[in-house]
């Protein structure tokens, strides 16, 4: 009928993916609906099904968008670790900073739980689960990289579910202990 706004299909695709990501962060995968996404993106309902035929497509696009955001975060982590004099301290600070945006953190665990249930989402979850160990590997080796990543995931989960702050000196110390061979 109208077509008020400027025509820009790719921008709409991206806006819908970003809006989906936000809805997932706020309501969870299971309560994500076409209508909530359309409202968040300020687009008509029909736009969601035009670009993403089914709800699963829409959710997958939202999670993919979240993983892309996460990947740029990871590159920043890589840069900051490279320039840091003390890896354990730098990593602790990165975790503390990461936790300031709890919405983003919730999204990450939402993705993990969704991937645990749906094998099709597993490649997306791998980006985070394997991405951080790869960054750590040059510093401490593959095994310790995996262990430190697991430790950080667990500490973040603890902070997330109990709404407490991270014990930063304790985390630094734990990273150091895991880094020793």
């Amino acid at each position: 009928m109208t077509g008020r706004r400027t025509r820009d299909p790719e921008a709409r695709r991206a806006a819908l993916a970003a809006a989906t990501m936000e809805v997932i962060a706020e309501a969870g995968v299971g309560r994500t609906t076409h209508r909530a996404v359309a409202a968040k993106a300020d687009l008509p309902l029909g736009a969601t099904t035009y670009y993403f035929p089914t709800l699963d497509d829409l959710i997958a696009a939202g999670l993919r968008h979240a993983v892309e955001t996460l990947q740029t975060d990871l590159h920043q982590w890589e840069d900051r670790l490279r320039d840091a004099p003390d890896m354990a301290v730098a990593l602790t600070e990165l975790v503390r900073d990461y936790l300031t945006d709890r919405r983003q953190v919730r999204l990450e665990y939402e993705l993990c739980v969704a991937a645990a249930r749906d094998a099709a989402l597993r490649p997306l979850a791998d980006v985070w689960m394997r991405g951080l160990p790869e960054i750590l590997q040059p510093y401490v080796g593959a095994d310790a990289g995996r262990d430190i990543c697991a430790l950080i995931d667990g500490i973040i989960l603890l902070a997330l579910t109990t709404e407490t702050d991270v014990d930063e000196p304790g985390l630094t110390s734990a990273i150091r202990r895991l880094a020793r061979d």
Copy 2:
């Protein structure tokens, strides 16, 4: 109308909570419905709203039931650790055994993500998040207990989302490194 089965309100309450737990494990909190729970418990739809007025009540009951299951697991962990000659090895075996029932494991993380979103569920999540560290504390102290628990949570999450098995010698070694002060 009929009332076919034997009258046993408390058994029905428990059956509904158990069925809810299973539905959450299979479909997630967000996709848990009265009807799915009633079907799983083999009870009429009206039974769910009679015992649990709202859907939130039903879900909370399911999660509470899951936490009670988890708590008996924790007591078993406590016993097996007490009798073990090597804590790190015993803990590794417990993690391996725990991962054989992925449904139960998914449920635990589902609870964590739900607690991260809804503060009312936080006391339930605390049972797991604080329960294991308390068990470990006598062996390695409070800080290392927290760290080892976080490590285990992270390792379990990794195994869950990538559908891989745990590197058992690696985990044992990591626990030992964290236990050293």
